[in-house]
């Protein structure tokens, strides 16, 4: 493995460990709140709107697949198709952030305001933090697309590292969706 490639991969691994620790801390806090609460969701919260979280989940899953496709097509030397898939991934990423804003609107319309207690704090706070990372990820996707436009196989490790970050955000969302919205 070339040194630059090894360095890039190592740096991304350390970054993902750091990112994972941030979200693990949040989930640990969530576990404490939830296990200590007499009722979850609290009695004053009727129903959490699930439409947009479901749509967000499908979009982010699709974006993970398109990101994977972009990288594997680039590895095969099919640069044009790879570029198309990376553009589609950016579109999916933007759509995800869009659906998150609609989720926050729905929460508000359902009477779940940010200051409605710790349950609402978690719904808003955790999705805000995840969305912030998604914005960073979108920056990464733009970088990925620009890298693919250079049509240079030496840069494939960069594409692969952006892909790893994007999958990481998808996995975090999967935990959030399951933990916060489904169960």
């Amino acid at each position: 493995m070339r040194r630059a490639e090894l360095q890039g991969n190592l740096a991304m691994t350390v970054t993902l460990v750091s990112g994972a620790m941030l979200f693990i801390t949040l989930f640990m806090g969530y576990a404490v709140y939830r296990t200590n609460a007499p009722f979850w969701p609290p009695l004053n919260i009727d129903k959490v709107p699930l439409t947009w979280p479901w749509i967000s989940s499908m979009i982010i899953a699709l974006s993970s697949w398109t990101c994977y496709q972009a990288r594997s097509l680039a590895q095969k030397g099919e640069w044009k198709s790879a570029q198309l898939f990376s553009l589609f991934t950016i579109f999916c990423g933007l759509s995800f952030v869009g659906t998150q804003t609609l989720l926050w609107r729905d929460l508000k319309m359902s009477g779940i305001m940010v200051d409605s207690g710790v349950f609402a704090s978690i719904l808003y706070g955790f999705t805000w933090i995840h969305a912030l990372h998604m914005v960073l990820g979108l920056g990464g996707l733009v970088f990925l697309h620009l890298t693919l436009l250079k049509v240079d196989s030496k840069n494939l490790y960069k594409v692969m590292n952006v892909e790893r970050f994007w999958h990481f955000l998808g996995i975090v969302w999967a935990f959030m969706f399951a933990g916060l919205f489904l169960f």
């Binding site: 630059a4 620790m21 609290p42 004053n44 200051d115 207690g117 710790v118 706070g125 933090i129």
Partner: protein
């Protein structure tokens, strides 16, 4: 490994690219050094103001008191006192010691000591400094807000740090500053870890690395793992303060549904205990190397020292609960945390014994870096031993939140790390700036620091054992504490003395920068890689990447015939 980022880059030519947004690890190290010295001054002045209040409450702080606090005639009022001890802790830990040990020495030493031309990611390195600078600016700006800076303690426990306890914007800016600094630390950690793994010179195995690099590398690993934990905590605290969430609000302060203030303590200490080692591991590494260099002997049990430091790093992640014995923790948990805490004594004792083994029967040279290193051995010994009292549940219940705790953590985190930092500055100054520091002034600085420092921190242990609470504004109003007033005065006088002797350091540092004797390439006669190149090194460090053939502590080898008592790491080990 081939290709990659270890090639020679052209030296920058403009002032802007050379000194401001430099990618050169040596320049970034110096930026961090100046940053740390500035904040050491600010944090030190705050310490003097705190100590003045405790010894002479109600009296104006001398000389600059009326200038800083015109509305009270120079007297430090209680709310300002709370702000001072909060920001003194914050500044010294995050803005003075961290940038000195990790930012300055990490940046300067890692590439030079492993034979690399720069860090793996120079741009990230530069950004790391400027994020730290932004964070420092945010924190300093908070001092000028109408209600002043943060005043909830350096630990910022809710509810002291929520809008109920700290209504002004100072605490909000504190959270923001710490978060931004966390980004800087994480960037640094990514860089350090990658650099050590990928850019070691050919022939340099992990155990051929100087122990300084070991300490910095382990610190970077802890930083990468645990700084985000604090990041998560302060982010939630920031949301509580700015957006109305209730993560850490409880009872009457939470209007709808309760959060959990104690949860912040858990999050803080999951980060906070490793943070102690984040600060001290680089100092341990530096001292482990310097004791060997100035005893003219190989480091005793160098591999065991490296492994012990690694063991401490791992164990440091499992002991945070000993900071929270008094939070109604289950006895099963307190006993578990106590046992794990005691376990840390084993690796600590191993490398401490190795330090003693290193200097045992050595031809000790009492140059200033060695004096400061021996100082670390002494104060860390005291700090470590007093830690046993606080790691044991029964004694901690009595001593918790007293000045004994303050004395203990100052011995470990302040005294050890500060003396280790000074040892490093005196040792690498010739390499950094190409000039020698004045040795006589350095020795005056050492004794002028070492003696009052023990007056301060041992005094704190004594008043703490006598029952003085750590956050008292005026001990004179409590009958039970009146007998401790003379000791409090002794601590304050010691602090003033120590502060005055730091002027000797500043004068020596500034004078030597311009007028110091020109430094040869290897003034201390040691064999690690940085001493094989001129002082100061050229922009790209090494014309040819060195090939390492022996360890970093090859001193006093009786088989050496060339008139030297040390070998460079680039030389074959001389055997009999």
């Amino acid at each position: 490994m081939s290709g990659g980022f270890n090639e020679i880059h052209e030296a920058p030519t403009t002032f802007w690219s050379k000194y401001i947004v430099s990618y050169d690890h040596k320049v970034i190290a110096k930026q961090f050094l100046w940053y740390a010295i500035f904040f050491l001054g600010v944090g030190g002045m705050m310490a003097l103001m705190i100590r003045w209040t405790l010894a002479y409450p109600g009296q104006p702080f001398p000389i600059i008191g009326k200038l800083l606090l015109p509305s009270t005639g120079g007297v430090i009022p209680p709310d300002t006192y709370a702000m001072l001890f909060t920001l003194h802790g914050t500044i010294m830990i995050f803005y003075a010691i961290t940038p000195l040990l990790i930012g300055a020495f990490g940046n300067y030493c890692i590439p030079l000591m492993i034979g690399a031309r720069d860090m793996a990611f120079p741009l990230l390195n530069m950004l790391s400094f400027w994020f730290a600078a932004l964070s420092g600016l945010i924190l300093l700006a908070s001092l000028f807000l109408p209600l002043g800076g943060a005043a909830g303690g350096w630990t910022s426990y809710p509810t002291l740090s929520t809008l109920i306890g700290s209504p002004g914007d100072g605490q909000t800016l504190w959270c923001l500053a710490i978060f931004v600094l966390g980004i800087s630390s994480t960037m640094g950690a990514v860089n350090y870890i990658t650099t050590v793994i990928t850019l070691r010179a050919p022939g340099m195995g992990y155990f051929d690395m100087p122990l300084t690099v070991w300490g910095l590398w382990l610190t970077a690993i802890l930083n990468a793992i645990f700084v985000p934990v604090l990041g998560a905590g302060v982010m939630l605290l920031l949301m509580d303060r700015m957006f109305g969430t209730t993560f850490f609000l409880a009872g009457a302060s939470a209007t709808a549904g309760s959060g959990d203030p104690v949860l912040f303590q858990h999050v803080f200490w999951i980060f906070g205990h490793p943070e102690v080692y984040i600060l001290i591991l680089p100092a341990w590494g530096i001292v482990s190397d310097l004791l060997s260099f100035f005893s003219r002997k190989p480091a005793f049990g160098a591999k065991a020292t490296a492994m012990s430091m690694t063991a401490v790093t791992i164990l440091s992640t499992l002991v945070y609960g000993h900071h929270m014995f008094t939070t109604q923790m289950s006895p099963l948990l307190t006993q578990s945390f106590m046992t794990l805490t005691m376990t840390i004594s084993i690796p600590s004792a191993i490398f401490f014994a190795n330090w003693l083994g290193t200097i045992w029967k050595g031809s000790i040279r009492f140059d200033s870096p060695m004096l400061f290193s021996l100082g670390v051995v002494f104060v860390f010994g005291l700090g470590g031993l007093t830690g046993l009292h606080l790691g044991t549940v029964t004694t901690d219940l009595y001593l918790h939140d007293t000045y004994f705790v303050v004395g203990h953590f100052h011995y470990t985190m302040a005294a050890s790390v500060l003396l280790g930092g000074y040892a490093g500055i005196y040792f690498w100054f010739p390499k950094m700036f190409g000039r020698m520091m004045n040795e006589m002034m350095a020795k005056i600085h050492f004794w002028g620091t070492m003696i009052p420092l023990n007056g301060i921190f041992f005094g704190m242990l004594m008043v703490g054992y006598g029952g003085m609470h750590r956050r008292i504004y005026n001990p004179f109003v409590y009958d039970s504490l009146k007998r401790l007033i003379p000791i409090n005065e002794m601590i304050t006088i010691s602090a003033i003395l120590m502060g005055l002797f730091q002027i000797v350091f500043v004068v020596n540092f500034l004078y030597s920068l311009w007028k110091g004797k020109k430094a040869p390439s290897n003034p201390w006669n040691v064999g690690t890689l940085e001493w094989t190149i001129p002082s100061p090194p050229v922009h790209h460090n090494y014309d040819e990447i060195p090939v390492v053939k022996c360890g970093p502590h090859e001193l006093g080898n009786p088989n050496l015939k060339n008139g030297r008592d040390f070998q460079y790491q680039t030389e074959e080990l001389v055997k009999g």
